[in-house]
Amino acid sequence: MPAPDPASAPSLSREAPGNGNASPFRPRLFRIASYRDETPDVRTFRLERADGGGPLRWRPGQFVHVSVFGAGEAVFTLASSPSRGETVECTVRAVGKVTEALRGLGEGDVVGVRGPYGTAFPVDEWRGSDLAFVGGGIGMAALRAPLQWVLDHREEYGEIVVLNGARTVADLAYKDEMGEWGAVPATRVVRTVDPGGESPGWDGEVGLLPQVFERLALAPQGRIVVTCGPPVMLHYMFLALGRMGYAPERVVTTLENKMKCGLGLCGRCNVGRFFVCTDGPVVTWARLQGLPEDL
């Protein structure tokens, strides 16, 4: 391996995928405790352990495979921080076979969960830094766990800016929570929608996310940018960050490759020497630049 970057340093815990002879692919059973609709096609599920086993232990940024039996498994970044208790939250957009089947389930229904897998955001190393979380669309779901973590350890971090963007006002996730985030001291929440996506009475920003971020003119000194969104948004986001003088080592993202096993075995998420499921999904922009353009 090349020199490990902070985001994938082995000091971050990776729970052993299985125990003893049990199949590492056998999920634990969780129950849907509740759910909340974020947008017309995005829903946040709260999951509780249903098979009598202990709670899930994870770090912000890690992901799980969620099973709907008969439909299959899909990968979701855990959208809640372990600092908020043992209940697991996943924010899911219905785009495929499993996610649509998941949408068809209700409170009390049982799903499978295996994981957590992958690297976590290096929240310990961020201590003392200013932070900017820039999430586009469903990409914000991947940033919610580290955001909750730093808000729950507010005194350890510097200024926090959250830029939450979506195509339209209706597509903006976590509308109800943004007020709560902004109420935390020295925390600023900026909402933005793409041009044409605003509705009457919209009082947030209008503009493509990278442009809005550039307009905020946050000084790169002492700041870490944490960003996630669709490939085209990330492309322009990195261009903007480069113009603004951010060092690639101080920009962290999380990759959304197709994954099946989560264990570095099935080969699906392999890019060059990198396996997204075990070497990622959390990576620095610097590490990303060293990977073949196959993502």
Binding site: M1, S23, F69, G70, A71, A74, K260, L265, V271, R273
Partner: protein, 355 residues
């Protein structure tokens, strides 16, 4: 590769000895898998008796990996009739098995699989119960290139016993404790191999090794290929690729898989199924985005994984054993040796370009 033959503790056997030995193993309840022919197609099949052992045998169309890594494997069953889902582990039907008559490339292929799938309990359990009898090659096929990727037509890697053709009969030598144990029950009736017989066999093996194609895969290809990720040659070669998965499914060392549920929401199974990086669906996101949007990009991934990214991470060992099956069977006539040569012939190109 070690070619030093130990003349002590080796035997000389004829076909009847081999058949009697295999008959005994089958009788003891072991699954003995060996090359078998049907309608001109050679594949590895379980034998029902020692008499079914084909000698000489053809080179099987695909590797014996399916006996350790089945084409489809149930991971668990689920059932939720009338209530909460219950999960049930599959019943392990693992029996002691002997993979018999593997060419050294196929035996080495199992070691490559071990490196990836060894951590999987189902694979590991079958692997622990498996004994491998390697049969040294007495001829080289035009597509062979084992010697270029660290192997040899009489290579010992992955084998527990080595069987060497010798004047119409065979010399047999254990390579591991497992191999010694497999022979233990039958070896009392076998004649010890003579030094002269080994001498003659060794001379022949050297000739075969010489006949194996000198592949253009040059030393240091892994770094060279990585630097040429963006080479135009990938597009020029890869556009011929038609996107089937013959190369990966017949390959001794390819191990990618898919995971699927089969059945209804109430009752069914989750299984893992062979899959291939050459399929467009392999990397297609639910959103419709595909990071490898064309066949040339997928073909590049396969070649680079085998000859560049894997060896660079694993002490220079390529994820290829040079059996040449992909060369022989590719319907578009793609030859991985030629591909690597052609890409390496290109000047260094930027890594962020290409198909």
């Amino acid at each position: 590769m070690s070619t030093a033959f130990d003349r002590n503790g080796s035997w000389s056997l004829d076909a009847a000895d081999l058949r009697a030995w295999i008959g005994g193993l089958v009788g003891s309840g072991a699954r003995v898998v060996a090359p078998a022919e049907r309608e001109g197609l050679w594949t590895f099949r379980p034998l029902r008796s020692g008499e079914e052992l084909a000698l000489p045998a053809g080179f099987p169309a695909w590797s014996p990996k399916e006996f350790l890594f089945p084409r489809t494997e149930t991971l668990f069953r689920y059932e939720s009739s009338g209530g909460e889902p219950g999960l049930e582990d599959p019943v392990r039907e693992d029996v002691p098995q002997v993979l018999f008559g593997l060419a050294p490339c196929d035996a080495a292929g199992l070691v490559r699989l071990d490196a990836v799938l060894g951590a999987d309990p189902a694979y590991a359990s079958r692997r622990a119960l498996t004994t491998v009898v390697t049969l040294a090659c007495d001829a080289a096929r035009p597509e062979c290139f084992c010697t270029t990727v660290g192997g040899s037509p009489h290579g010992e890697e992955g084998g527990d016993l080595l069987l060497v053709p010798s004047d119409g009969a065979f010399l047999l030598r254990p390579l591991t404790r497992k191999g010694t144990e497999l022979a233990a029950g039958a070896s009392a009736s076998w004649a010890p191999a003579t030094a002269e017989a080994w001498e003659r066999a060794r001379a022949r093996l050297r000739e075969v090794a010489e006949a194996v194609g000198r592949s253009p895969l040059a030393h240091g290809f892994a770094e060279g290929l990585e630097r040429r990720f963006g080479s135009r040659a990938w597009q020029q070669v890869g556009r011929r690729c038609l996107g089937c998965s013959i190369c990966t499914y017949v390959c001794p060392s390819c191990s990618c898989f898919d995971i699927q549920d089969e059945g209804s929401p109430g009752c069914g199974r989750r299984c893992r199924i062979w899959d291939s990086c050459t399929f467009g669906l392999f990397t297609l996101h639910a959103s419709g985005h595909n990071p490898r949007p064309n066949q040339a990009a997928r073909y590049r991934q396969r070649v680079l994984h085998k000859f560049s990214s894997y060896p660079l991470e694993h002490g220079g060992v390529p994820m290829c054993v040079g059996c040449g099956r992909c060369v022989r069977l590719c319907p578009a006539g793609l030859d991985v040796r030629e591909t690597v040569e052609r890409v390496l012939a290109e000047g260094k190109e930027p890594r962020h370009a290409g198909p």
